[in-house]
Symmetry: C2
Subunit: 382 residues, 2 copies
């Protein structure tokens, strides 16, 4: 009778009833359930049936029965803690394996993590949001418990993968960005102070007498914008008018084509005596272009760049460049992540203020020589 009326098994009803009380908040961590006998009496069912229901819930880990004492709601914290145990392997997401400054940052990062008792796994995005998305999705699907160190992809453009970072953040995964950051996310980062880098580099050019200063910046990552901001700021402070014709924006694809398609760039340099380059790679390309065009560095054009990578030394004209912390940044990032793992309240953000490394790509100008250099440059171009 009853069975045909209710359809669902009695023990299942008890399971549902308790589950509901847990969901509604009536039953909370550590609460003791009514004795089996009492539940049986209340629903008019046998104690055996109640026991069956409780045993199912105990299997799931929701309840815990203590012999001679009672059945208790398992501590939520315990349940969470079980899930929330972080892996001792850190997942690092970076843009490139090869090239430029990343290998040096990564090596010191990995070494530091291992010194602190953590393993490291590195994944690469190739600086493509699509690849970034795949990697993040995989980590979420795998329910990874790895703390993460991430280099943002195209941090200058709106990023479509922020929801994945938010998901990971909600799951309690510590995430620390390095080299750059996504301003939309409230997550810590360790990076160079790119505004300062741009500002100090520009101020150095100004201190050498330059006033007609061009700038080449990368549009699709965060650093480009901040370095540009520093450049603007320095000009403003020195009361030099900002001339938009002298500012050239390039993107990652263009950067690779720079030595072939340089007309656009050279146009922006007309009449300038100095140029701030986004990084050493851009400065290196610019040097090659100038050499081909018969523009002398630094006599006709002073070049200053940022990052002080190997390229800065190996450049045909050794580059004056802002020193990127690299190894130090790797160490700091690793240390701060470990600190963050142990104390989720720790503010892990740190920005390095860069120093300048002076080589021979910048030459002072005086008001007398300034016009000459600028016009020499102009002559060569046409």
């Amino acid at each position: 009778m009853e069975a045909s009326m209710t359809k669902t098994a009695k023990y299942q009803q008890i399971v549902d009833w308790i589950q509901e009380r847990l969901d509604s908040g009536e039953l909370r961590s550590g609460d003791r359930l009514e004795p089996e006998k009492e539940i049986g009496a209340r629903f008019g069912i046998s104690r055996q049936t109640v026991r069956h229901a409780l045993s199912l819930l105990a299997q799931e880990g929701v309840l815990e029965t203590v012999h001679g004492s009672g059945s208790y709601v398992k501590d939520n914290k315990e349940q969470y803690q079980q899930k929330a145990v972080l892996s001792s392997t850190v997942t690092i997401i970076s843009s490139y394996v090869d090239g430029y400054i990343f290998p040096r940052i990564l090596r010191s990062m990995v070494e530091t993590l291992e010194r602190l008792g953590y393993g490291a796994r590195i994944m690469f995005t190739g600086n493509q949001v699509e690849t970034e998305r795949r990697l993040l999705k995989r980590l979420i699907e795998e329910e990874s418990r790895d703390p993460m160190i991430v280099e943002p992809v195209m941090s200058g453009l709106p990023n479509p993968n922020l929801k994945y970072y938010r998901e990971l953040q909600q799951r309690g995964i510590p995430i620390l960005f390095f080299h750059s950051f996504y301003p939309e996310l409230n997550l810590p980062h360790v990076s160079m102070d790119d505004v300062e880098a741009g500002r100090i580099a520009t101020e150095y050019l100004i201190s050498q007498g330059h006033t007609r200063i061009a700038g080449v910046f990368k549009a699709d990552d965060g650093q480009g914008k901040y370095r540009y901001k520093g450049y603007i700021c320095a000009l403003y402070r020195a009361e030099i008018a900002i001339c938009e014709e002298r500012i050239c924006w390039i993107d990652t694809v263009e950067q690779k084509l720079l030595t072939r398609e340089y007309e656009r760039l050279l146009k922006r340099l007309r009449g300038c005596t100095a140029c701030l380059c986004y990084n050493d790679e851009v400065a290196h390309s610019l040097t090659e272009i100038c050499i081909k065009q018969g523009i002398r560095i630094p006599e006709d054009l002073s070049i200053i760049s940022i990052d002080n990578s190997e390229l800065a030394k190996l450049n045909p004209v050794p580059l004056t460049s802002m020193v990127h912390p690299m190894e130090v940044m790797g160490v700091r990032t690793a240390e701060n992540l470990v600190h963050l793992i142990k104390d989720p309240e720790f503010n892990a953000t740190y920005e390095f203020v860069p120093e300048i490394k002076i080589r021979s790509s910048v030459m002072p100008v005086t008001p007398e020589t300034e016009d000459e250099a600028a016009s020499a440059h102009l002559r060569k171009q046409i």
Copy 2:
């Protein structure tokens, strides 16, 4: 009474009884157990108690009860398969992030894996067995299901971590070595045919008239021994006596100190007109030493090396070098691993036969000029 006699609960006895029959092989995958009633009758206990025992075993996943049919031993294959599901992320273990040819191999490897639908995580050993051990232990502890691509550490020396590879192999993890391999393990590898590389390089020197050929090899990795083997083989075939004084063995630590402590190396080169170098790094160091000592390359000494890395081009005297497949090797390694994942019987071993890239570090000698060059070299040295 009974309880006090037996001590162990009756339901536990049934659990043990069934477990034993499983272990002994009496019960195998898919077998049907006796009906609950029969078991109860045999042990003189109630069906309820038998049910309790069976429910515990079902919880563990050992049994499966089918309503109206019976209790069955769960298919071992199913259990295995559940565990044997491989991750779609491949763990790559390599020696270094930065430097030499590895970034180029890794990049193409990662790209290929992603093209084939697999993610990649890279871990680095720094070519230290201790770090290798830590990484492997961690993977085993985490019960990782990642297929693996591994660059052996110090493959020339007996490796203390083989047991970990065997453990992973037994767990059904596909493992593919690249760049080198551990001869003690019966696991596949994708690498350059180092014997052929040594042989072809030496034969090229012989074809250029050289007979007094020195060799510098690395003692602590596999390639060193195989390249040495190729060198010996070529001399033997050309019926040139092998002169042990002309063979110099170095290790990883020494390699870094080479430019400072070069006396030992130069001793071995006395009276030689050519030298086969273990790799471009060694050849580069040798070039620098020779330049400092006033020994001309290739007039006084021809140098041939192996790997054809960037260094071969950038060397003060561009190096004739055996072409390492690099990108092609990365692609092939990734493809073969994926093949191996899908078909565990697939023989994933592949060895690339290298070609020679001729630059300007080797010069032909004739019987007349041979003595002159050798003695010129000797003169410079003293």
